[in-house]
């Protein structure tokens, strides 16, 4: 069924490990935030950074973290997979 070649299918182990590492970092951030929403909403009402409360700051932070981690992953995969640089 698949038209993809076998070598392409096997992911480099190091890239996979990096991916999982970054995934778990985000899991901790995301579910940590959900835990705060559920059990300590008062903490999220505080304004440690001056104007914006922690609920909004952490929501924006989670979106920024997703982008940051995904860029880190892309760069890491490029380094790990291809000593000669990008293939396309």
């Amino acid at each position: 069924m698949t038209e993809t070649s076998e070598p392409e299918r096997s992911r480099p182990g190091r890239a996979t490990r990096i991916g999982f590492g970054l995934f778990w970092i985000y899991v901790i951030l995301y579910f940590g935030f959900i835990a705060l929403v559920l059990f300590r909403p008062d903490v999220l009402s505080s304004r440690p950074f001056g104007g914006v409360n922690l609920a909004i700051a952490s929501g924006l932070g989670l979106i920024a973290a997703a982008l940051l981690l995904s860029v880190v992953y892309m760069v890491a995969c490029r380094v790990v997979e291809s000593p000669g640089g990008e293939r396309h």
């Binding site: 069924m1 993809t4 299918r9 991916g19 995301y30 909004i56 979106i63 997703a66």
Partner: protein, 577 residues
């Protein structure tokens, strides 16, 4: 509220829709193979595919639903934004590259790559159809909501318009035209939401003193609509709502802030006082009455969790579990949505799949940041329709100008076109490629495969139109939450375990998909939300403890897969993951 259409609005809207459908016909001129129809020949550039991901994913729920929820309930709508984006982390780090490497046309291809089982194909095809149909409903509802104020036509006409346009798009050129429609839509959506946000910040916040008298909308048994007891007309209609009652004390007697920076806008709003409106419905012999009443609230209360998800403040365990369940489903659901997964087959290889996901995350993340400002801008725009949360973003645009309203509404409509095209493509592939070709094993040449897909697309388009009319009174974000729950419960356990647990068997996959889908579906049908909003029964009659099933049914999918796999003999493996 009654809306008056303007020729400018109609002209802009018609240009957008005609341009999009025209593009499809132009792309569809080329001869089509099955690979072209279902996977755009696997030749889409990763950047185009990344933006098309945004076009595919940023549905009516994201644009209309989230903005509306923030506008009426504050911060809680933003929780959807956070959850919707978080799901892409699962897609990027866990699913993207393996699914690209294992599949060909459909999600079922990937799950069945090792076992070549008709049972897997059948169960996954059914789950694809169920998820796609549940996801289609809110898109069609959103389309109908947009048409009412834009063209002054009934809700059902909007639903039929989008159904016909999308069916034309899919039937003409399949995944090629779908990809370009999604690319254009994704680009326009993010760009114009950025423009709208800039205008919100430039306008700043202004105290507006609208009437705070309650308003009543009644529907009599013979179908007449009354406003405060008199027949509804353009001159006697519900007043638009959503106002700023007072600025922070530091502004003294000033009634406007002037232009504000992004963080400053949030900060000022938090120290302001805002009037929000809510409706309470009752029924008696004279009809159904909804009384809309205003409540003045501190901005700080609206910008913290608990405005919509009441359980976050009441402390009821079932309500907390309901919220946790929704956020889990949003996290797990994205990487399980068939119409998202098939987009991985349109790029060249696994590296392109990864890069396009990163581009998608950037575009989608930027959009979700903008939703916060759009929703809060709408909250204080004085332009909201108290009867429709879904209209918040277009009506916010209307508070600036009719032209911007027409542009934003047309973009929202193309938003629906882009997402519905993807959903119908996914459903069409499930019917033609999975069910007809692989389960029923009806021999088909290349042309027949494409023809079969197109017939399936027409059928799905008709189903989508019918459901869009039936579910018109629902908030679209709420409905999408159901689709995420079903997708995450049915598809994610099988996908993850297939990729990362060597003892997974075909029986385990079939059982997990079937049990996950049926359990989440049954839970939803038995939930308090469905009892109240669909059946019109008391919430207390619901036998399940909370409405969102994911917290139970996602782990159940994993558990069933593990148990059944351990009980069944592992099949010899042709190809490793």
């Amino acid at each position: 509220m009654l809306y008056e259409s303007s020729p400018v609005a109609i002209a802009i809207f018609a240009s957008f829709v005609l341009a999009v459908v025209g593009l499809s016909f132009w792309l569809g001129r080329k001869g089509q193979s099955a690979k072209g129809y279902y996977a755009a020949h696997g030749e889409i550039h990763w950047f185009i595919n990344g933006i098309a991901f945004a076009g595919d994913y940023l549905s009516a729920a994201s644009f209309l639903g989230i903005c509306g929820m923030i506008a009426f309930h504050g911060f809680d709508g933003f929780l959807y934004s956070i959850g919707f984006l978080a799901g892409w982390i699962v897609a990027l780090f866990v699913i993207a590259e393996p699914i690209k490497s294992l599949g060909k046309f459909t999600f079922a291809d990937a799950l069945d790559a090792k076992f070549k089982s008709r049972g897997i194909k059948l169960s996954v095809a059914i789950s694809t159809l169920v998820v796609s149909i549940f996801y289609l409903i809110p898109q069609m509802v959103g389309a109908g909501d947009l048409i009412v104020p834009l063209l002054g036509l009934p809700h059902a006409v909007g639903v039929i318009l989008v159904g016909v346009a999308v069916t034309l798009i899919v039937v003409t050129a399949g995944m090629v035209s779908t990809t370009w429609v999604q690319f254009i839509k994704g680009s326009l959506l993010v760009f114009f939401c950025g423009v709208l946000t800039s205008m919100i910040l430039a306008r700043g916040l202004t105290v507006n003193t609208g009437s705070l008298e309650p308003q009543t909308r009644s529907v009599t048994p013979d179908g007449r609509v009354l406003v405060d007891g008199e027949p509804q007309t353009r001159d006697h209609d519900l007043r638009p709502v959503g106002t700023l009652a007072a600025l922070p004390a530091r502004y003294g007697d000033a009634t406007t802030t002037g232009p504000l920076g992004a963080l400053e806008y949030l900060s000022v709003l938090e120290d302001s006082r805002i009037v929000t409106w809510s409706g309470k419905k009752s029924t008696d012999a004279s009809g159904t009455h909804t009384v809309f009443t205003p409540t003045e609230k501190a901005g700080a209360d609206l910008l913290k969790p608990g405005g919509y998800f009441k359980g976050l403040t009441t402390g009821k365990l079932a309500d907390k579990l309901d919220f946790a369940s929704l956020m889990l489903a949003l996290f797990c659901g994205t990487a399980s949505l068939p119409h998202i997964l098939i987009r991985y087959y349109t790029v060249k290889d696994a590296a392109a799949a990864r890069k396009s996901t990163v581009v998608g995350i950037a575009a989608i993340g930027a959009f979700y940041v903008l939703t916060l400002f759009l929703g809060l801008g709408a909250m204080t725009s004085g332009a909201l329709d108290p009867t429709s949360t879904n209209m918040a973003a277009p009506l916010l645009a209307k508070s600036f100008s009719e032209t911007l309203f027409a542009v934003i509404s047309a973009i929202a409509f193309t938003t629906v076109l882009g997402t519905v095209s993807g959903l119908i493509m996914a459903g069409s592939g499930a019917v033609a490629h999975d069910l007809v070709e692989n389960v029923l094993r009806i021999p088909m040449d290349d042309a027949a495969k494409v023809r079969c897909g197109k017939i399936a697309a027409v059928g799905l388009g008709i189903v989508a139109m019918a459901l869009g009319i039936l579910f018109r009174n629902f908030n679209v974000s709420f409905l999408v939450g159901w689709a995420f729950n079903i997708a995450a419960s049915a598809n994610l356990p099988a996908l993850v375990m297939l990729l990362f647990w060597p003892r997974t068997t075909k029986e385990g996959i079939i059982s997990a998909v079937t049990v996950g889908m049926l359990a989440s579906l049954a839970w939803i049908l038995l939930s308090a939300d469905t009892f109240e909003k669909v059946y019109g029964l008391s919430r207390d009659a619901s036998p399940v403890p909370f409405s969102q099933p994911g917290l139970v049914t996602i782990p159940l999918g994993f558990l069933v897969l593990v148990v059944v796999s351990l009980l069944t003999k592992a099949q010899p493996r042709g190809k490793p993951a």
